[in-house]
């Protein structure tokens, strides 16, 4: 116990307070990251190299989270429009001067590093929409939609053109979740839903062949057992053969015998399900649910509208992330290339997610400061 300004508190709590971190969220994320490392070790064929790299990325992510937690919500709010404008400008720059990797134009080379501007938009779009709606007094009305819908759809369209369907969808979800949380009337959601349904044929025409193929494969994976369908077939075999208790850590045959493709990245959930079974899967889903619930709890206690909307949207986007990935791996959704958040091998999305959690923690400590 130490004494700060006359009051006694445990050292850990004091440190968390000083670093503006939320203990509950920190523990939940920590557990998830550790589970992720364990699964990755198995999925990568017990590769120490992959483990070291991912650990380094996690270190980078934690540092980014702690840094983001230090930014006061007020600053985030005034930054929002600038970040958004810069993000859109970078997306346009990628269209013109982006690096082509694996047939898609997503990377921007800054000379010292390469990064994906679409990652920025995962934060900038909800920030921008929350900023706009926080300048309005009441719940969003039709004319607010005239502003927010383009704010969301312009970046989404730019990201879709790269093409990066998965990220485009997440960015769109993050933006519309803000509008939803702000209390937009149900009628408009029904309307937007119908409009989206009407847009599907146009969307279909916009898609690249490989994207269409993935959607078609969803309905009949056996039609293409050696191409895109192979992923889903092998993934379902991995999950199903895991059974109730799983085959045990490092004992998954589907992954260790090299049947399961993309097993360290997008399909890592199948590795987990094979080795830890239905019970492990249920626990993992609970862990994800707890993280989302904690994020929403923090947002509910936030002091102003901007913080509330942004926090709620970030927490729910995390949920969308997870749901889309798992639905994709279990064959409920087409293969859109969304990683399992905080578990899949890879750097960029991990860092963005950790920054989002840093923002949530900043919102959490804003509350604490005012309440005391």
């Amino acid at each position: 116990m130490i004494s700060v300004t006359g009051r006694e508190m445990p050292l850990g709590q004091w440190v968390l307070g000083r670093l503006r971190l939320d203990g509950v969220l920190l523990v939940l994320i920590g557990v998830l990251l550790l589970v992720g490392l364990a699964v990755l070790f198995s999925a990568s064929g017990e590769s120490m190299i992959a483990l070291e790299r991912q650990t380094m990325r996690i270190g980078l992510g934690v540092a980014a989270m702690v840094l983001a937690a230090q930014i006061p919500v007020r600053t985030l709010r005034s930054l929002a429009p600038w970040l958004f404008v810069a993000g859109v400008a970078l997306l346009l720059a990628v269209m013109v001067a982006g690096e082509v990797g694996k047939g898609a134009r997503r990377w921007l080379d800054l000379g010292f590093m390469r990064f994906q501007p679409s990652e920025i938009m995962k934060l900038a779009v909800p920030m921008m929409v929350a900023w706009y709606l926080s300048t309005r007094n009441d719940r969003p009305r039709f004319r607010d939609l005239l502003v927010t819908v383009p704010l969301i759809l312009v970046p989404v369209f730019l990201i879709m053109r790269q093409p990066d369907l998965g990220t485009a969808m997440l960015v769109g979800a993050a933006g519309f979740l803000v509008v939803f949380l702000a209390g937009l009337s149900w009628r408009w959601f029904v309307g937007l839903g119908l409009a989206a349904a009407a847009a599907i044929p146009a969307l279909w025409l916009q898609m690249h062949d490989y994207q269409r193929q993935r959607v078609l494969t969803l309905f009949n994976p056996e039609s293409d057992p050696l191409g895109t369908g192979y992923h889903i077939i092998q993934s379902k075999i991995a999950i199903g053969s895991g059974g109730l208790y799983g085959k045990g850590w490092l004992n998954g045959t589907q992954s260790h015998l090299d049947f399961l493709p993309e097993r360290s990245t997008d399909f890592i959930f199948a590795v987990y399900a094979e080795e830890f079974g239905f019970i492990g899967v249920a626990l993992l889903l609970l862990l994800y649910f707890a993280i989302v619930a904690r994020g929403l709890w923090i947002s509910a206690l936030a002091q102003d509208r901007f913080a509330r909307l942004l926090g709620g949207s970030l927490a729910l986007t995390f949920a969308v992330y997870m749901v889309v990935n798992i639905a994709m791996v279990t064959g409920l959704l087409p293969v859109v290339g969304v990683p399992l958040p905080l578990v899949s091998y890879g750097g960029t999305s991990l860092v963005t997610l950790m920054v989002a959690f840093g923002i949530l923690m900043s919102i959490a400590s804003q509350k604490r400061l005012v309440n005391r």
Partner: protein, 626 residues
Amino acid sequence: MAGRDDYGQEQQDQQRFVVRILLALLLLAAVLLLIGWRLSGLQVGAHTHFTTLSENNRLRVEPIAPSRGVIRDRNGQLLAGNRASYQLEVTVEQAGNLDDLLERLHDFVELSDADIERFRRGVRQRRPFQPVLLKAGLDDTTVARIAVSRHELPGVEIEARPMRFYPLGDKFSHVVGYVGRINEQDLARVDPRAYAGSSHIGKIGIERYYEDLLHGRPGYRQVEVNAQGRVIRELSVTPPEAGTDITLTIDADLQRAAYRSLAGRRGAIVALDPNNGEVLALVSAPGFDPEMFVHGISQAAFSDLQSDPARPLFNRALTGQYPPGSTVKPLVGLAALDEGITTADRRMFARGYFQIPGHERRYRDWRREGHGWVDMSRAIAVSSDVYFYDLAHTMGIDRMVPMLGAFGLGQRVGIDATGERAGILPSRDWKRATHDQVWFPGETLITAIGQGYMLSTPLQMADFTATLAGRGQRIQPRLLQSMDNGNGELERLLPQPREPVQAAPEHWDTIHESLIEAVHARHGTAWGSIGSRPPTNYRIAGKTGTSQVFGLGQDEEYDEDELPRHLWDHALFVGYAPADDPQIAVAVLVEHGGSGGRVAAPVAREVMDAFLKGDAGMTLDVAEDE
């Protein structure tokens, strides 16, 4: 608005938010339940079904590497091909104790620490029953000894794999380049799927530049495996598409003759066909054995190569930048004639030095006593510095630079190989941009004799020589002559003309005559080494150069800490032959060779003789294209 209202608004807002959050949570819970239901269906309901599928999962798709296209010279000689290389592989599941096995293998084959480290890494990353490479490039004796003792070495296999080889070795190492094992950086610039089955990728030279052509497309085979993951049989095969065979413009015999003519000295030779831009020879000496890199060069061997003072890894012909010295005088002379600064007949008395009027400083001629009365032609033939100082002073840098630029100085030639540098064509703007200084008149003088800031690659020198030979016609130099279109026919590339250099015909005549004079007249700088014993069947037009510089020049940061022991001048010669119907344009650089006339000119003569079957050259029993 009153504070009270604000507060009410805020509270209402928060309540609405909480309602929405609860809705969202409910929805999430519902979705998770749906997913849970789906998962229980897969994992509990259909568990037996999927377990059976998993246990019977016998199909696997494996990539098959395409065979790499071969590289030939213009006459069909093989420069890079594929041959079976024997390598030692271990199937860990059958090997028993690995340490014991490695211990026993030491009696048969030399295993370096690097080999063992790579092997252990491979063991960690392998699939079950996948053999792991232990040692590549085994010789026949080792193969035989291991084959005889196979019963003592369980799990050990000798595999024959196609491996790149370079029959002409170090003489072509800088042109053809080499392939090496794929690393992370390589994977970042190619589609990893296309390289799923491949172990090697082009690293430098033609191998790198034409990687896309040479590599081909991988095939796939569907195999059946048993429950432990061991391949039992092959079910179907999609064969790989082999890489494209390509033919270079290089004449291998000429390249070898050129390499030999340097006689162990460090230098570069570039020979072009001025009529179509084909690179006939491109030599950087010394070279290195490219096959070392194919098999995986050891750290020790690599640092030996890097610290070798002769710098065999350095491509002098493309990456090396040298002051072009007096070889630029014909270009400066043409600029002066074209600008009307002087006429071919105007004579001046060239003393041993030149002074800018009103300045003290003396700009010396290489010949202490000067050259006496000279006109343009004689000034080029005797290489009078003072004559060109005088011209440059009258002309000024601004009227000199455009012509030099039109000949390609200061720009990459754009040849189809890796590592090419642009050299430097200094100008007022260049100096302001790079040194933030104004241009001094004295710098104009030394630029006119190819010294000072000016730098040029041997390739650029050969290129401007070809332009002189073609009287301004400029064709893009290139190394690729044709490629196999898959039906056994060669698809030839067409010459690509570039913007020609414009000058009046009589000015081209003057320069052309002066270059013949430099070689064949008694006062010419190349008289001693060529003109006094000329080839009987053709004449040479050429220009000597001697560039004063330490090491590689100020712009070369490659390895300052190992400046050559002796600080001799670089010897240069550029020329074309036959003078009246040019078939070959040559640039020769001998690093720290001394005088261009004495050292570089004979080398160029040997190269030309070899190509034009001159009397002094070795006879080439090779049909020429023309």
